[in-house]
Structures are given as C-alpha cells and as structure tokens.
Symmetry: C2
Amino acid sequence: MRTSIATVSLSGALTEKLTAAARAGFDGVEIFENDLLASPLTPEEVRARCADLGLSIDLYQPMRDIEAVPSEEFARNLRRAEHKLRLMERLGADTVLVCSSVSPLAEDDDALAAFQLRRLAELAEGFGIRVAYEALAWGRHVSTYDHAWRIVEAADHPALGTCLDSFHILARGSDPKGIEDIPGEKIFFLQLADAPLMAMDVLQWSRHYRCFPGQGGFDVAGLVGHVMRAGYEGPLSLEVFNDVFRQAEAGPTAVDALRSLLVLQESVGLTEPPAPVVPTGVAFAELVTPDVEPLSEILEALGFARTARHRSKPVDLWQQGEARLLLNTGPAARRDGTQLAAVGLESPDPAGAARRAEALLAPVLPRRRAPEDAPLDAVAAPDGTELFFCATDRPGLPSWTGDFEPVAHRSPVAGGVHRIDHLALTQPWHQFDEATLFHHSVLGLGAHESVDVADPYGLLRSRAVTNTDGSVRIALGVGAAPSADEGGRAQHIALATDDIVTAARRFRDAGGCLLSIPANYYDDLAARYEPADGELEAYRELGILYDRDADGAFRHCYTETIGRLFFELVQRDAGYRGYGAQNAPVRLAAQHVRRPVR
Amino acid sequence: MRTSIATVSLSGALTEKLTAAARAGFDGVEIFENDLLASPLTPEEVRARCADLGLSIDLYQPMRDIEAVPSEEFARNLRRAEHKLRLMERLGADTVLVCSSVSPLAEDDDALAAFQLRRLAELAEGFGIRVAYEALAWGRHVSTYDHAWRIVEAADHPALGTCLDSFHILARGSDPKGIEDIPGEKIFFLQLADAPLMAMDVLQWSRHYRCFPGQGGFDVAGLVGHVMRAGYEGPLSLEVFNDVFRQAEAGPTAVDALRSLLVLQESVGLTEPPAPVVPTGVAFAELVTPDVEPLSEILEALGFARTARHRSKPVDLWQQGEARLLLNTGPAARRDGTQLAAVGLESPDPAGAARRAEALLAPVLPRRRAPEDAPLDAVAAPDGTELFFCATDRPGLPSWTGDFEPVAHRSPVAGGVHRIDHLALTQPWHQFDEATLFHHSVLGLGAHESVDVADPYGLLRSRAVTNTDGSVRIALGVGAAPSADEGGRAQHIALATDDIVTAARRFRDAGGCLLSIPANYYDDLAARYEPADGELEAYRELGILYDRDADGAFRHCYTETIGRLFFELVQRDAGYRGYGAQNAPVRLAAQHVRRPVR
C-alpha cells in the first residue's frame, strides 16, 4: 500500500516536515492548511518541492462546516470552496477532506446534507478534485462513519466519497465491521491514528493524545482489515495530533511513523517483512567509562572476575555465572562518561534479527568495529543504545567471545550473581512511545503496562518489554516532562541472585557501597507483612527493599551511582512479574540524598 | 482559620517541603506517607523539625482499604493500624485519614463498615488519635460525602468523624449544600483542591490535575461556605496532586498555595484583607537594554519621541499619545539583554494596591530606587516582572514623572500610536496557573479563557487578564511543556492605533522592519472574508493580519524582535475582545523564518 502522513503529525516549518517525511520513505503527504498558510512557499513551489522529494500530495483539508446549512450560508461556503479548489489545483492535490459540520447553524437533515455535498462535488469535479466526507466523532449531527456513508450514498455523485479515520471510529466505540458494506471505490481516503485508552472528552483526546498505530490501545489493524476487505486501494495515511510529537524532532518522528505503518501492514497480512527473531537472553551489557577503577572495584565487590581482554581494543570482559559485562575504556568512553552503551542480545538467528530490524527502519551499525573482529549484526535503539544480535559460543556461528583472549583470574565466588535480571534504560522524553514500539516490533518483545513512579522532583513513567520466559527484560523509563537533568538520569543493570542477603553482605564486606534506605520504610514493611525472625533486621542493615505480588516476592538493593550508571541486586521468586515499582519512590528519594552504607 | 498543606503538594524531600510550607506561612501540614517512608529522619526528628518550624502535623494518612471487609482481613487491618497509630504517636499527629475502601474484598454493607470503623476508633482513642473517614470519588461502595457521613453517624463514636475533600465532592457533581446537615464537630478535617473542568476518568483527574483553589473550575469557596455554616473549626488544608507542581520548586509553590487560601478565605467572608484596587490603565512599560540604538530606531520609526530623561539614572522616557515607554540602559540591562522588565499600572490608590499585594504575599520591592526618586509602590510578579502602582500627574500623589526632566523633542506625529493595547508576558512553564491567580487576586484583573496556539515547534497556551474596560490587558503565555529556549521566548508590547495601514506604512517608510507574512495567508483571508478594494493588497504589503469576532475586527502586525522583545501594532474595533489568537500560528512560524519586510 502507499503510505502517507499528515504534516500536522510532524514538527517544524512545512519544508522541514516534507523533508522528514520523504527521508523516512513516505510516498505522500496530507497538507494541513495552517502549514501551508504559514509557509513562505507558494502553492506551486510546494508542489514542486514535493515532486522533487518524490511525495504526492494526497489530501488537503481547508473546509469546515460546509453542509446542512441554510442556503445563504451554503452560498458563502461554496464561494470559499471555489477559492480552495483553485488553490488545490495549483498545489496538485486531488482529494479534499470535508469533515462533518460542528456549526450551530447545521441542521439535522440528511437530505439537505446530501444535496449540498452533491453540489460541492459537482463544483470540485470541474477542477478534477474528489471530495471525501468524514464523520468527526464530535460532529453536530453526523458523528459515525455509517451515517456519513449513508449521506454520501444518497448524494450519489462520482466525485463524492467517504473518508474513514480510525480515531473517530474507534474512539466512539463504533463496530468497524460495517465498513465492509461500503464499496471500496467509494472509500476515498483512510486516515490512521491510535490513542491510549482514556476516559476523556473525545475532542481533547483527539487533539492532544493521538499516537501512531501500535503505540496506543485501539485495534487499528483490525479496522484496516475491514477497510481492505471493502476493497480500498488508496493510501494508508497517518493523521496524528500529539503535543509531544509537536515538540520532537521531525526526522525521528517520521521514521517512527513509517515504522508503525510497516508493522501495521504486516499484522494485516499486506506485507511479509522478515519475521521477528525473539532474543533468548542477554549475552552481555557493555559499559563505557573514562576511568576503569571505580567500576572495577564495584564489579569485584559484586563477585565478578575479569576473565578476558579484547584482542585489539581496551575492552575487558567481566563475568559471573551467565552475567557478562564488557568494560570499554576506548575513546568514546572519554567523551560521554560512565554509562551503559550497548546490549548484546542472544539471538537464535542473528542475521535474521538484523534483517527484520533493517526492514523496520532501525539504523544498522557496521558489522565489524575492526577488521579482525568477529562480524556482529547491530542496530541502534531510539535512545542510541547499540543492540548487538549475538550467538555466544554456539557452533556454526561467529561468537563475539572469539575477539577476547582469556586472562588469568580467580574462580568466581559461589552463590553470587548468576545472570542479568533486567536492564533499565532511560529514554529521551520525546521517544517513550517510540521506544516501546521499537522494542516490540523490531525485537519481538512483549510490552507490559506503563506505571507512574513518584520521584521527589517529578513523576516518572516506566514500561517493561520482555520475552516470554523473562530471560530478556528491559525496563524503559522516562520523565513525565522534560527536566534539566534529563540527560543525566541514570540507567542501571539489575543482577539476579538466589540469596540477596548473602550477596549484598558480601558486596558490602568487600568494600562496596549500598544505597541506604530509611528506617521508616522498614517500620512500614513490618506493618504490611509478617516478616520472619531476623529478616527485617537484615534488610534494614543492607538497604534491601521488598515487594510481593500474588505469585511471589521480590527483594532488591542498589549500589552507589557512578557517572550515569548503578547496579541493582535482585532476588526474584519465579512467579513475581514486576520490578518493585512500589519501592521506587523510596529508592529515588534515597538516591537524591546519596548516603551509601559502607 | 488555620491553614495546612499536604506534603504531596510540594516537590522535594520531606525536609524541603516542611521548610517551604513554614516559610510561606502555613500553620500545619498533612504528612503524606511516602514522604515519611522516604525520609532519613525518624518520626521523632520529623516531629521536632515541625515544632522548630512552627508547624503542627494535622493529618497522617497511612491506611487504605480498612473497612467493610471479612473479619480475618479486618484483623490484619487492625494489626497494621496499630503499627501506624504507634507511629503517629511518635510523630505527634492526632488525626488519621481513612479513605473509603477500593478493595475488591470490600462488601456493600454499611453496618459492617460502621462496626469496623467503630472498632478502629476505639483503638485510635487509646492513642489519643481521631479517625477521619472520607469518601473517595472512586470508592468501591462509598463514594459520596453523605454516604460516608451516614456510616460515621451509625458508628457513633467520639473518636470517629468525617473528612471532606472538595475534589471528591465537586468532581462527582454532588450538591455540597447537604454538608450543613453534618454537625460541625463531626467534620474532623477539610481538604481543599480545585481542578480544571475536564471530562475524564476521575481517578486520573484527581491524581494528576488537581490545583489550588481559584486556579480551576470548581466552586471551592461555595463548598467552604457550607462547611463553615456546619460549624467546622479545623484547618483549611490543601491536598493537591499535580504533575507540574511535582516538578516546580517547593518555595514558590508553597507561597502560591497559601495565597490561594488567603483569597479563598476572603471570598467566603472569613477575612477582610485590603480590598483590590483595580488598575485603570498602563502608566508605562519599562524596557531594559544593553544597547539603546536598535530600540531607539524602532521607537522613532513607530512615531515615539524621546520626551524626558531621568534625573539621575540612564533612563529615557519615550512617549506617543498615552503610550509611555521607559528605556533603561542601567547595569541590570547589561546583564540580561533587551527585555520588558517592569510595568507601571495606573492605580486609583497606589498605596492601597500595594497593601493588598503585600497581604496576598506578593514580594514587595523597595519604594525608592534612589533617595531622590519619588516613592513608588512596587511588587514582583511571579515571572519576575516588576509591577509599579502609579499615579501619573495626579494632584496630591507623587508622580513618577517628577523624576524626569523634559528634553527638547519634535512633536509627535499625528495619527500614530495612542496607547498600549496590551502586554504579552511569557511565563515560566511551572507558573502559568500561579500567574493567572496572582494577576486575578492581587491586581483584581479578570481572567479570560485559556487558548491553545500551535507554534511550529510545540503547543503554546495563552490566557488574558484584563480590567473591565480593557484599559489594562495582559496576555500571559506559556509553552505546553518546558523547552530548551524557554528562557529566550520573546515578550511583546502591543501598541494601539486607529489606522494600522497608515501607522505600519509610516513605520516601514521610516526604516522599520515589519514581520513578513506569507502570501498564502492572504489567499485564505480572501476566501474567508470579502475585503474591500485594495484592503487585502495593503495588508499583504505590510504584513497585517486580520481577525474578526461577532462584535468587531482586529488588525495587527509585528516588528522584528530585538533581544527578547518585539512590538505589535493593533487596530482594535471597540467590540472585539480577543488578541488575534487564530493568527498566532502564522505569526509564530514567520518569526521562526525571520524575514522582515524593509
């Protein structure tokens, strides 16, 4: 299918929007009237610019409150329409959108609406333009797609059809099955938007909270299926009003937008991109740091041993059980301070995973960082984290471990960390929904519910993406609004242990700093649960937090923060599915206080 | 009445919140449980800190889902309650809040609820603690204040009363008149919050959008009137969950919060602060600039003449009709670049206006900036703009003009600018609601509806505050979310003329730069209106924008921006009440392009 995007979905001046849409790979655009009015380009120049960029102008929507009005008013509307049709001729746009009227002058008279829309279509036909009539969810008398279609059917003119908009249909809870009763050639246009499920005024919901298909709670794919079965052949066009996207850079938003349409077409069965290859584990996490000492000290105290060194680069492999961390002190490290820079995902088919990622517009990174390195498929996540698709020591596939030479090391201690439980990655404010859709569609991870977490200086949101057996868990986090220290918000690596009290005590006894948790927290634990003898005392001594759901318990504690990074030790009962979100406010407050327990 | 604020309404650690509340002048606080759990202070230390700060601890709310549950569950709840009552004893808090249950275990059984609440009250009484039972708007079986009261009445225990919360009552649309039927001594607590009127899920509305009384759309004062007539004698306590306040600095938020309670008490007739003295005009606007040349050139081109100079400071008075601008090139100017720094408001009673401002916690500025200056009462607005209460050349009152010595000047040109139409002041993101309440309550200006305006790089909000005859108009503007260039967003001064075409042409012919407006805008004007011959051509030539409402037309154009400041010329028909908001997206886009018409 051809793809299109309304310019209102992207930020910037009209020319910036057009460039972003073309670069992302869209076939066409809907031009939002205000974008044209505010542009110094003439309609002819806009037309030429679009042609240069390989974009068609699929829709223009300059008219409001056209139909079902008294005849003098309609005469004025036709005069205005003629102006706009002439403009569209200059612009080279062949379809005009007419939304159902919200005017207090509009009458509840379908015959009058049909008569006047037919008159408009006759006028438009003279300019070679088609009129697409759409029911706004808050239209005064016409607010459902089937009602709009009955009027179009009654008007019975070849230049008049209907426009369907997934938001207007799904926000009202209409059953989209009836779309199949509309002849495909009379569906002149299809606008797509998703939205989070919210009980709020539909106009405000539509104007501020729309998002791209797959980012919200609507079954947009189901609706598109009905439209396809009706025989629709026009473009899939995104029309998204979203306060966040208005502020975000147009380029990344356009890529995200097109990705949502690629995923949508796949789920409807219109296309078959390479299938998702769900990762089966975390092969490694790569940390960059300008100063290897503090991190080495923490890792040693956590029970990790430095087991190998990269053949040609200043990268060390630290290992404990299945938990592998790369410490990179190369040039990039010196620029950005200590942080989590890359994640190696254990993949059943690394090349296939990369093909899928590339098909879904993930930026592909060079396969070899140096000529002598093993080839590794990698892409960049929206937050810039590098994702490597790995096979670790598996026959027939190049292994990243081949680039490393073992070094003498003491045996790992017993009963420590055995794997990475999860990675917590802080997302740029504008890219939270994008990040979720990316991890879901590109990596095939399942997205969990978004939860709010109170930080002393603002609300945060967190959303986990995981594979089915929980061997890959990534917690995406973001501030509720941008803040000055956004760039500095720390990421963390949670390490799984079977005995957190022993692991935490050993860490502390080896000189590690644990985050101190206030005594008041433990008084509350005592009120909420009935801890075993000595349990609470140990938790209090070590700063261990406790949570429980219906299926199990979760115990966790935190190291100090180095640069933008800290570690968490977690002991997770098999059934527990969360991340201790209810303890997060206490943890965040403690991190602001920063009083480590030595 | 005593005033109190819930710690959840302020940002930061518990000690920061307590300090901010005390400094603003609150008498007490409600301690939100998470704030205590996250604090490194023991309950005794918190109690001592509050005592040092002169704050009582009026409420603690550690219990959820207490009542109307099966007996084993209730036994567990009582055990938890005993823990918390012991904690409250340490804290020195004598009232515990119990919200109506949202638990799936809760039964729809008022008798059981009353029985169990009575048991809880008996337990609490032993600790000298009172239990205040409140209906959550989304409570499972108890969601209205009268229902909660019926249960309290049935339980019939001296240590059990009810807590009223204006949000829960007004959000459900309950009639607050029935509050008068509750005996005053059984209303143990009153929590106040306002909220913008929104059709949305009440839980989300409550958790994210509450605001201080007078900032939203509820009749909080009306409700408080009923509570007073019932005989309530406890504190007025603010409990506000708001995503913005969570990010804002605690100090200014606390002052804003207390101001809202002062205004509320006045409107209920509980107190009589000095009456508002509504300004009757704009005496002057003061611009600071490190370089007087570019501004002087613009003012000359606009038809202003430099008519006087300050006796002792580098400040010039420029005048045209009743429009007076001060150009200040003193030391402050060199620090902050060109901007609007102060506004002189013509006041029928400058001293009275200052007394009101001070009573409502506006920061009072020194009356004389130099010993020889005329004394001038002044306060700082939330955005830092200095507001002077002035009498201009009025008998019996010191006039600011007395500090100026006339200089030789050419006569002002005829038919130019005759007054300041409005001032547009950009507010810091966190202070938009605060600014509106400040201008309304301190200055006695009326607040108009808030409107959204699309900038190419994000949504803006704008809200006007005016006096009755429109001789003082201030448009407060803010970004929908913080952005990197927030500090740099320009303010502007709109100058009224009776003939904008002549005024704009003269400005341009005198070398002034007008903001260029795209031709597409004028094509659209032609489609929407039927302009007189030549009218559109003149508008297009000069970049004049046009708007119309039911009562009149509005024509306006813009100068280039210097530093953080630009000017607007406006020709306003008497009946027109707006500010051309519908043209703002075109203007904002043009300012991003920055192509002046010479």
